[in-house]
């Protein structure tokens, strides 16, 4: 309820700027990201939605009729099922909410197959009961094949219903079940024997002062009870934080989970306000981490200067150049004079060693991390090079130089003298669900298309290579350690 007092104002502005959304990720309550013919789609409150070719750059143009609040979309078989609330939760006609579903063969409005089926009602609130049927989401239970939807807002309870995955209709005889209070824009997900209910808590639609945040409870049964980390049922207001304000954005709401590969997941949401985009409500994509069975948003990856340490052994990725000793006055530990003042030892500087490095390509290997210039890598986003779901491609260069990490046509690695922007020098850096990183070249020389298979990989403790992503193996994972 609270949200919609202000929503009216916010969305009158949005409507006026419909054209200005092109090329910009402006959205509220984005549905779970859906993929269709190589493009990504998300639908928002009020109608319409965003499209992205690469998952990084988003623009308006997705089409969803029916208006209303907070839709969700899911591919089932070869069709897309869209679920939405036809109303706005308290605005214009009280709490008589309706949840509808409709199908489409494609999400691409330009496709000749693009045609929504007639929307059918699957749930409603009568206006006086403790529920307002808006903000629906979908879960196709991978263990049973059964299709569930939760819906509701602050006006009473969050409810669970079952749908028929073949028709999108309500399962005959299915009774609504209350599963949470005091949240809205919920989402249901399943992982590893647990069902998770993610709710949006706080207040939206107040720009940079919106307190929206996403909380979670979990249950062994899809029908609940959904309980938080200290044992509180979400029906009692319980919930563990998944994402809150931080990094110049605030008010995350309307969770969606996208599994990219085993162990690599992304969460979608909107931020009520992006401080860097004039405080507008924008699409947010973040790595989704799993800690002790709880989902948690990872940080946006901005790059920086790091040691790249293998998860296999903890050795650092380095240029295959001569190790250069740091000369200093040694004081053997048996002869330490405690009265003598200590003198810090300076770091080895790039200038101290770079002159001895070869001019051409330099091989890359792994070895003991010693904080040396040939082991320090600066990772910088290259936004003009495009991106992937959740982030831009990066260049990875030896700190203080333009010497760039590159993939070779024999699936090995090299460090070229200067970054040229070539696709084999661009890297997709993603945080895996356990907090480690997957580092993947955009393209492999001599191979067609964008690489989504081969990653930086420990062939041996000292030998990095490129090999297929395998979340089960520490050979495929890396840690980024600030110097």
């Amino acid at each position: 309820m609270k949200r919609y007092y202000c929503l009216l104002i916010v969305f009158s502005l949005f409507t006026g700027r419909a054209a200005a959304q092109v090329g910009a990720p402006y959205i509220h309550d984005p549905s779970t990201i859906a993929e269709c013919d190589g493009k990504y789609y998300t639908f928002g409150t009020g109608g319409g939605g965003l499209i992205s070719d690469d998952g990084w750059s988003w623009h308006g143009g997705a089409e969803r009729p029916g208006g209303g609040a907070a839709p969700d979309v899911m591919k089932i078989g070869d069709r897309y099922l869209v679920i939405y609330g036809a109303t706005g939760g308290g605005l214009g006609g009280g709490h008589n909410g309706r949840i509808l579903t409709m199908w489409n063969r494609t999400l691409d409005p330009k496709s000749p197959d693009f045609r929504y089926t007639t929307a059918i009602e699957v749930a409603a609130s009568d206006g006086l009961e403790d529920c307002d049927a808006i903000d629906p989401c979908l879960l196709l239970d991978p263990t049973t094949g059964r299709l569930w939807a939760s819906f509701g807002t602050y006006f009473g309870n969050i409810r669970l219903i079952e749908l028929d995955p073949k028709t999108g209709e309500r399962v005959r005889g299915n009774q609504e079940k209350d599963i949470a209070i005091d949240c809205e824009a919920t989402d249901l997900i399943y992982r590893d024997g647990w069902y998770y209910l993610l709710g949006t808590h706080g207040t939206c639609c107040d720009g940079v002062n919106s307190t929206y945040n996403i909380i979670v409870g979990r249950s062994r049964s899809v029908e609940g009870p959904y309980v938080d980390n200290v044992g509180r049922d979400m029906l009692n207001g319980g919930g563990r934080m998944v994402i809150t304000a931080g990094d110049r954005v605030c008010g995350p709401g309307h969770f969606g989970r996208t599994v990219i590969d085993e162990g690599v997941e992304v969460m979608s949401c909107h931020y009520e306000a992006d401080f860097d985009q004039g405080g507008r409500s924008v699409l947010g994509l973040r790595p989704l981490l799993w800690k002790n069975g709880w989902p948690e948003a990872g940080d946006r990856f901005h790059g920086g200067t790091f040691a790249i340490l293998s998860e296999r052994r903890g050795y650092s990725l380095e240029l295959a150049v001569d190790f250069v000793r740091i000369q200093h006055e040694r004081q053997g530990w048996r002869r330490v004079n405690p009265d003598e003042p200590v003198k810090p030892v300076a770091d080895q500087q790039l200038a101290d060693v770079a002159g001895n490095w070869p001019q051409g390509d330099i091989k890359v290997r792994c070895s003991d991390y010693m904080m040396r210039p040939h082991q320090l890598w600066t990772i910088t986003p290259v936004p003009e090079a495009g991106g992937f779901l959740g982030g831009p491609y990066c260049k990875i260069v030896i700190a203080g130089t333009e010497r760039a990490l590159a993939a070779t046509d024999d699936l090995e690695l090299t460090a070229v003298p200067a970054f040229t922007g070539a696709p084999e020098q661009l890297w997709r850096v993603e945080q895996a669900t356990d907090g480690t990183f997957r580092i993947m070249p955009k393209q492999i020389p001599g191979r067609e298309g964008i690489n989504t298979t081969y990653v930086l990989y420990s062939a041996a403790d000292s030998t990095p290579t490129l090999a297929k992503w395998d979340f089960a193996s520490d050979n495929a994972k890396w840690r980024l350690k600030l110097k």
Partner: protein, 663 residues
């Protein structure tokens, strides 16, 4: 046989359909030729099961592949017990004949005998099979052969008072015969009958036919005999085409003997007005009332071979003759107000009121009624309001212009009395959520201003402009509080330690548009000001008990406040301790901000934009003194669902419970 049993079990899963006191009675599939029987004080319905014609079968013909059985105890709610016999399972039947026409089922000696026509394997015409079961729902065991000497359709079995059973069927006119005690064979000689040879067809061997022609029936096409015994009379009832080129009526004849001769009496039901060609029926007495079960093509307007069962009340004259019945939409049964009242099945209506399918592509979605304008009305008889106390109505309506739905209830002989009025606003101010709702189905609610006593007719009256109504439904408001009697004994905290009994002051209206103003200093200033006013407040206090752990203040405001949103709530309770309890904390959750005082001392402030979360904040460690402790709270909220939950917890976070709650 084992395999067949398993199949039957799989198909026997139950489907409870919702209450439908209206015609047709089964609303998710076709149900023709309804034979209804009373077994064990329940009505069992054995219809034939029309289906859409599958690929390869004759397109313009009847098509039935199996039988379901349904049961009901009130003629309004029907349980589908699933498939009992399927054409693939009949040992002698054509597995793709789709000829499972009108059946019957009777009980004798604790066993249930199901009779059904079917096309024989490799043969022509129809034979009649038997299947037996220990329960009306099955599972049914199929006989290996059809009944010898019966060639035809539409079996009907009468078990007379003396235990003698008779079978009637349609084939070369209407025939009847005694059944042997085993219920599976005809009693008596079979005649050899030479088949009439169709022109050009080869000579057929003579057929053995049992029983006798029923004498005394009128000329014209007859089928579907249904024979029953009432008082001194046997009744032979049957569909009958009385005019050349006409369609079927339901007609009857009477006799003092089960096999006639019969005295033709006339019509039970005239031809269907829409020229649905067939009709087929049964009659039964249930709880002192006689009913006629019959069919009509309600869900298949363009194809009268997909039919649906209906029921009407039927009466007898003192001389035993049957009173003619007119088909109705309303049907029979008293409908609970809490189920959907499909007003498109109205009992009667003013001129110009019409009904139409909700979706012509899926007729099973039912109908809606359209009232053309001011002054038009419809009436739906016999809705039971006895479960409604503090009620509201839900209506599914659509309109092209702003109008109203006025709902009256009409008891015996009384004039209709308005019980609710719903505004249908379809045009006006618009926005991203507020679009024009012209011509769209809307679910609207309104509280009942009067609650009818017991059973009443519901009248729907049209406001200023035309209106379509799909259904109405009545519900009770949820009970959020129980007023506490002054003499009530003390309460205790609940299992989890929550205090559910509070004195609540009538909500104090506050002009709060957003909860973001709830800063510490604003709250302190506001609460201090309001606290100072408290001794002089003349506002009313309510002593209330909540059925849940939390006090749903929003609903308290809905009922006792001047507005639902934007309120300050004062809450008080007395905690009476037999002994001092120390080192405990007050734990609170509130929607929105709140402040709490124990024995006049501030112990907790929940500031900012809050939702109610159990144990959201706690006081510092404190002591409840021996005897009475006053706990006071103020909850303030703008646009939100005001709520609070309060308990005391110990060092480990466990609830503290050993005290009385008095107020």
């Amino acid at each position: 046989m084992m395999k067949r049993y398993c199949l039957l079990l799989i198909f026997s899963s139950l489907f409870i359909s919702r209450a439908t006191a209206q015609n047709p009675i089964i609303r998710d599939q076709f149900t023709a030729d309804p034979t209804a029987r009373v077994f064990n004080n329940k009505v069992y319905l054995f219809p034939s099961h029309d289906i859409l014609v599958p690929e390869g079968a004759r397109k313009d013909w009847f098509c039935m592949a199996d039988y379901h059985v349904f049961s009901s105890e009130n003629l309004t709610e029907w349980t589908d017990h699933g498939v009992i016999v399927s054409q693939e399972d009949v040992p002698w039947g054509n597995p793709t004949g789709y000829s499972m026409w009108a059946p019957d089922c009777v009980e004798k000696g604790g066993k249930y005998y199901f009779y059904f026509p079917n096309g024989p394997k490799g043969g022509r015409g129809f034979a009649i099979g038997v299947a037996t079961a220990d329960l009306p729902e099955g599972p049914y065991r199929l006989e290996e052969k059809p009944i010898v000497g019966v060639s035809g359709i539409d079996p009907c079995v009468l078990v007379d008072n003396d235990g003698q059973a008779y079978i009637y069927w349609s084939g070369m006119g209407i025939r009847g015969a005694k059944l042997k005690d085993n219920m599976k064979e005809l009693d008596g000689e079979l005649q050899e009958v030479k088949m009439q040879r169709r022109e050009g067809a080869p000579e057929m061997p003579p057929m053995k036919v049992g029983g006798q022609q029923m004498e005394g029936l009128p000329d014209g096409f007859k089928e579907g005999p249904y024979v029953f015994h009432r008082g001194d009379w046997y009744y032979l009832t049957f569909p009958w085409v009385r005019q050349e080129g006409g369609t079927e009526t339901l007609a009857y004849a009477m006799s003092h003997s089960p096999l006639g001769p019969w005295d033709f009496k006339g019509i039970i039901m005239a031809e269907h007005a829409n020229r649905c060609w067939t009709n087929h029926h049964s009659l039964l007495e249930y709880r002192g009332q006689w009913y006629l079960f019959y069919h009509h093509n309600d869900f298949s307007p363009r194809d009268d071979k997909r039919r649906s069962a209906r029921i009407e009340k039927i009466g007898f004259n003192t001389d035993g003759t049957i009173q003619e019945v007119k088909p109705t939409l309303r049907g029979v049964g008293i409908l609970p107000a809490t189920s959907r009242v499909e007003v498109d099945r109205y009992s009667d209506a003013s001129n110009g009121v019409t009904y139409a399918y909700n979706d012509t592509a899926n007729t099973f979605l039912g109908w809606h009624a359209t009232l053309p304008g001011k002054g038009s009305w419809l009436r739906f008889a016999d809705v039971d309001f006895s479960a409604i106390t503090d009620g509201y109505v839900i209506a599914k309506v659509k309109a092209e212009g702003n109008t109203e739905v006025i709902i009256n209830a009409k008891g015996d002989k009384k004039k209709g009395k308005e019980i609710a009025r719903l505004k249908v606003a379809v045009s006006g101010a618009q926005g991203p959520f507020r679009r024009s709702t012209r011509g769209q189905w809307l679910t609207l609610t309104a509280p009942l201003t009067n609650v009818p006593n017991g059973v009443a007719d519901v009248e729907v009256l049209c406001g200023d402009s035309a209106l379509s109504v799909d259904w109405l439904q009545f519900k009770n408001r949820q009970q959020y509080f129980t007023p506490v009697d002054k003499k009530a004994t003390a309460a205790q905290p609940d299992d989890r330690g929550f205090i559910r009994r509070w004195r609540l002051m009538e909500p104090q209206k506050q002009d709060i548009r957003s909860n973001t103003i709830f800063t510490d200093s604003w709250l302190r200033e506001t609460f201090a000001k309001e606290l100072a006013k408290l001794p002089k407040q003349k506002a009313k206090w309510y002593s209330m008990e909540s059925p849940t752990y939390n006090m749903k203040l929003f609903h308290f405001a809905e009922k006792y406040g001047s507005q639902a949103y934007g309120n300050l709530f004062w809450c008080e309770t007395v905690v009476n301790c037999a002994e001092e309890i120390s080192d405990i904390r007050l734990a609170a959750g509130s929607n929105g901000a709140s402040m709490w005082w124990l024995n006049g001392e501030e112990v907790l402030l929940l500031e900012g934009d809050r939702r109610m979360v159990v144990d959201d904040g706690v006081s510092k460690r404190l002591t409840l003194k021996k005897g009475r402790n006053t706990l006071r709270g103020a909850v303030i909220n703008g646009p939100g669902l005001s709520d609070m939950c309060i308990r005391f917890i110990d060092e480990q976070g466990k609830p503290v419970k050993g005290y009385d709650i008095e107020n």
